[in-house]
């Protein structure tokens, strides 16, 4: 089997299951038609696929499908929550490893709406210290935001335990990296909002994503427009999912996402082989590795930094000489890098997919070993 040098799956997954392309083409060439706007067969079939996809996604997180809305990506879903809640002059707690999908909208709220951002206490790898959260909670705490799996060091946060401590305060889970990799149970864990994308761990096409909303009544829509329902009114419908689905969705993309969800691709390496990859790289002198402090909170990606050169140089050498594709820099997460001490230059991220084998890992280790001798 040819070496799979694509280690940038935290940016977007590649390859996709064949069914993704097949389903997109089926929509483009055979089915066509709008979602929810017309009565004829092709429109009904397209709408049915959208609902099938909603159902499968809901099943994955144990949600009622009525409470799951489609968005163009996780960023859009996060913005729906942060800009749809009444947060003026309130306090928002965030983890130390947040992405700019959260930090930038929060920065706007801080500037324009008097929102105060506070950081959840955490251990050295950014894992939230649940026992110390209580002291941060005040009457003004209106929301807690947690990146379930860091896109820099792969730390998986204890979202269920965090929710237990904060009680009725709503929690927004950024599942951009974790969806498809880490279990989420919104019912059991009483989660309020989950934002996810379709094109990373779920292996679907770009331009797909979604948001789970437990209590739609506490959110205003971010986008107003046509829904194919309640058309006699200039007001957005209050019922779900229409309340947050103005405009035609990415139907072709949703067909592709259904293809991905139905493909049921099994991971071609074991978790132990992945942990071994991290440990072997740690053994190579001259690299600092950024990962979780313990395996039980390690997600499927990590970062490293060469001690004698910069990440950009290393990334280029790996690509030019070994066709190893990685992402270097800040990964849109300056907050996480500041916390980890790798700001402003960042790290080189290794993010395998389910398609990687232990043979691919061995080639990566050998390349990193050989490169180090040259640096």
């Amino acid at each position: 089997m040819a070496f799979n040098g694509y280690f940038d799956n935290a940016a977007t997954s590649f390859p996709k299951p064949k069914a993704v392309g097949d389903e997109i083409l089926r929509y483009i060439y055979d089915i066509g038609g709008p979602y929810g706007r017309s009565f004829y067969g092709r429109a009904f079939e397209a709408s049915g696929v959208v609902e099938d996809t909603r159902f499968l996604l809901s099943e994955k997180i144990h949600a009622n499908p009525d409470n799951l809305v489609f968005t163009s990506n996780a960023t859009c879903a996060i913005n729906i929550v942060l800009k749809g809640m009444e947060l003026s002059n309130k306090e928002i707690l965030v983890s130390s490893l947040e992405h700019n999908a959260v930090m930038r909208p929060l920065n706007v709220l801080e500037k324009n709406s008097g929102v105060k951002i506070k950081f959840l206490p955490s251990f050295d790898d950014g894992f939230v210290n649940v026992e110390q959260i209580d002291s941060l909670l005040t009457k003004k705490t209106a929301l807690v935001v947690v990146n379930q799996q860091s896109n820099v060091n792969g730390v998986i946060q204890p979202v269920a335990e965090i929710k237990k401590v904060i009680g009725d305060i709503p929690i927004l889970i950024d599942a951009a990296q974790s969806a498809g990799h880490v279990e989420l149970n919104v019912r059991r864990d009483d989660l309020d909002f989950v934002a996810f994308t379709g094109h990373k761990g779920l292996l679907g096409p770009t331009g797909t994503g979604g948001l789970f909303v437990k209590k739609p009544e506490i959110l205003n829509p971010l986008i107003d427009g046509g829904t194919g329902s309640k058309s006699e009114s200039f007001e957005m419908p209050e019922f779900m999912p229409d309340k947050f689905e103005a405009g035609t969705p990415n139907i072709a993309g949703i067909f592709g996402l259904l293809g991905a969800l139905s493909a049921d691709i099994k991971q071609k390496h074991s978790n132990e082989e992945f942990y071994m990859l991290i440990n072997e790289i740690k053994k190579i002198k001259g690299y600092s590795v950024f990962c979780a402090e313990s395996q039980n909170r390690q997600g499927g990606l990590f970062s490293l930094k060469p001690e004698t050169t910069d990440c950009s140089t290393l990334g280029r050498i790996l690509y030019d000489n070994y066709d190893i594709q990685t992402r270097v820099g800040l990964h849109c997460s300056p907050q996480a890098h500041k916390f980890l001490g790798t700001y402003p230059y960042g790290t080189l991220r290794i993010a395998p997919s389910v398609y990687h084998t232990s043979d691919d890992f061995e080639i990566l280790i050998k390349a990193l070993t050989d490169v180090k001798k040259l640096l």
Binding site: F39, F44, G48, S229, K230, P241, D242
Partner: protein
């Protein structure tokens, strides 16, 4: 079976699709139609079913738990059902 039909209208497309699937899974014939102008349009798509199947369909839709209205096409005001 007569030609008389009842019309079912729903809030959302999602509800129409779920209702249509539910009916078909139980062997009840229903047809998606554009919601006629004379009925208050919630969602632009409605379902048409034979009047002989009215009771069975209504029982099924009540179990589905999606708000709907049905019209026998003679009344000007529909009957609200569901949650």
């Amino acid at each position: 079976m007569t030609d008389k039909k009842i019309l079912l209208v729903f809030e959302s497309t999602r509800a129409v699709i779920l209702a249509e699937r539910e009916c078909k899974s139980k062997g009840l014939k229903c047809t998606a139609v554009p919601t006629p102008r004379e009925y208050t349009a919630q969602c632009g798509i409605a379902l048409e079913v034979a009047i002989e199947q009215k009771e069975e369909v209504i029982k099924l839709l009540d179990q589905l738990g999606k708000p709907y209205r049905y019209y026998d096409k003679k009344k000007s005001k529909g009957t609200s059902c569901g949650i």
